[in-house]
């Protein structure tokens, strides 16, 4: 199941890329003569309240959301592995301090942290930079989630016979890092898979509060925010295309995680 859902997500991404490259409209181009249109030959999924191609914007949001979430998840997992390893292999007081800080961080209200940092940024921040900052924030906030798990695994690995044998034969601790890394790969993969949908959901929630990626760059968040106006002025059900696509991607990711757990 895991590979079939990954293939499905890959196909969605390929379709989105093909739509973006093949369409004559860009995601920011406005056609004021076709505002809030339902589907037609020129605009497959209709247009939004500014006359922008909805299908192209949904495709761009899908690619941006998936890419950003994958990068943020990879960074968060790497940071978590690094901090967990430092906590496990360094002095006990440092390890306890890192774990305590991680636990404290986890009990902070996340949505407030994201809101605060995002609203503290300049209003003139370019859209691409706001997207990069948003996903970097999510990466930083995701690292403490898996800190304890990584710490426990590294602590257990450190006490394995093969590691003790290697040290007895003269191998320095710093040299056995690559040996540890190969055993930590399954944890990295699980953390990565678990955090990708969380990043997508977090970005969508931030966007509905007006604190996500700035316009005109399309993202799940600002497309859902635009839904409020579009659904009232348009009679077509195609206005819900971004929501349907988002749900499909997230369900596929959930099934991938389910398959990985099995």
């Amino acid at each position: 199941m895991r590979f079939s859902t990954l293939i499905f997500i890959g196909l969605l991404g390929a379709l989105a890329a093909a739509l973006l490259l093949g369409s004559s409209h860009t995601y920011a181009a406005q056609d004021r003569e076709h505002v809030s249109d339902s589907g037609s030959r020129s605009y497959l999924a209709g247009t939004d309240e500014l006359g922008r191609d909805r299908a192209v914007r949904t495709a761009a949001a899908l690619l941006l959301g998936l890419t950003g979430a994958c990068v943020a998840s990879a960074l968060a997992s790497s940071l978590s592995l690094l901090l967990g390893s430092v906590a496990a292999l360094s002095a006990s007081w440092l390890g306890r301090l890192l774990l305590y800080c991680g636990d404290l961080f986890l009990t902070l209200p996340w949505i407030f942290l994201l809101m605060l940092v995002r609203s503290a940024l300049p209003l003139t921040l370019p859209p691409v930079q706001s997207g990069v900052v948003t996903f970097l924030l999510l990466a930083a906030l995701g690292a403490p989630s898996f800190l304890r798990l990584t710490h426990e695994r590294v602590s257990r690995l450190d006490k394995q016979d093969w590691r003790l044998h290697a040290h007895a034969m003269g191998l320095k601790k710093s040299q056995s890092g690559s040996q540890l890394l190969s055993h930590l790969w399954p944890i990295f993969w699980i953390q990565f898979l678990l955090y990708v949908p969380a990043c997508i959901i977090a970005e969508a929630n931030l966007g509905t509060l007006g604190l996500g990626i700035a316009e005109p760059v399309p993202s799940w968040g600002n497309m859902v925010t635009g839904l409020q106006a579009a659904a009232l002025t348009s009679t077509s059900h195609l206005v819900y295309l971004p929501v349907v696509t988002l749900v499909l991607v997230l369900v596929a990711l959930e099934l991938t995680i389910f398959g990985a757990k099995q």
Binding site: L104, T107, L116, A120, L123, T208
Partner: protein, 283 residues
Amino acid sequence: MRILLRLIRVLSLVILSVIGTSLLMYMAPGYFTDAREMDAAHAVSERRDLQALEQQQHSSTALLRSELMQWAHGDLGTSRQYGSSVTSLVRERVAQSTHLLVLGSLLGWSLALFFAVLFSLRSSPFADATVAITTALLLALPIGVLATVCLLTNTAGPVSVLACFIAARDLKLLHRLLSTAWLAPYVLHARAQGSPVFTILRVHLWTAHKREFLSVAVMSFTLALSALVPVEVIFDVPGLGHLAWSAAMNRDLPVLVAVTGLLSVCIGVASSFLPLQRSIEVG
């Protein structure tokens, strides 16, 4: 000793939140500006007030000192946006948020428990698939998207949306817990002897798994606190979440610090009852 450690943890959390919030807002561009400077009727007085504020809070240390001194005297400050006492603003809105949280949580827990018992009692591939598909669909919807769709289609209000959000997360955990619990030998024996389902639940399952049930309830309460902001903003409920969002958008530091501190205390107290830290879930 354990209680003391938990109190220290909650206090550390509140102090960390207050300091972090204050520094972040202070360093944000536009802290010593106000939109009323562009209003000819209020420009002069507004600039005078902002200059006085800038002299009082000339550095981050001075800012933190003035904030903490005010809090020590029980004064949460004055809202820059509304011009009224932060205490009165918070007091007016606590009731709305508490009402939404309590009703949403109770409804969510009830729905989750009802369906978890129903589907775990008559375990079958159909029941497992129904639970998996329903929870996957509801979990796949960000709370902001769920609230927006419900608002537009006029199908549910803020309480129902919060209840669905909580029920989706609790149903998965409770179904897994109860599916295993129903297969315990003493439970099977009680069922074979003809004991009613409710009696088995009350006498056997609740007693044996009280800790897990309470952990699920506490965890969903902390999630509901995070979900409060998008729900109140989208449904325009005048609660603490809406106040915090408005304060973040308008850089109203005293309100933001007060609301963040209050919610940090709630989450810290609730989380201190959890045996293990929950994994990330935003919104």
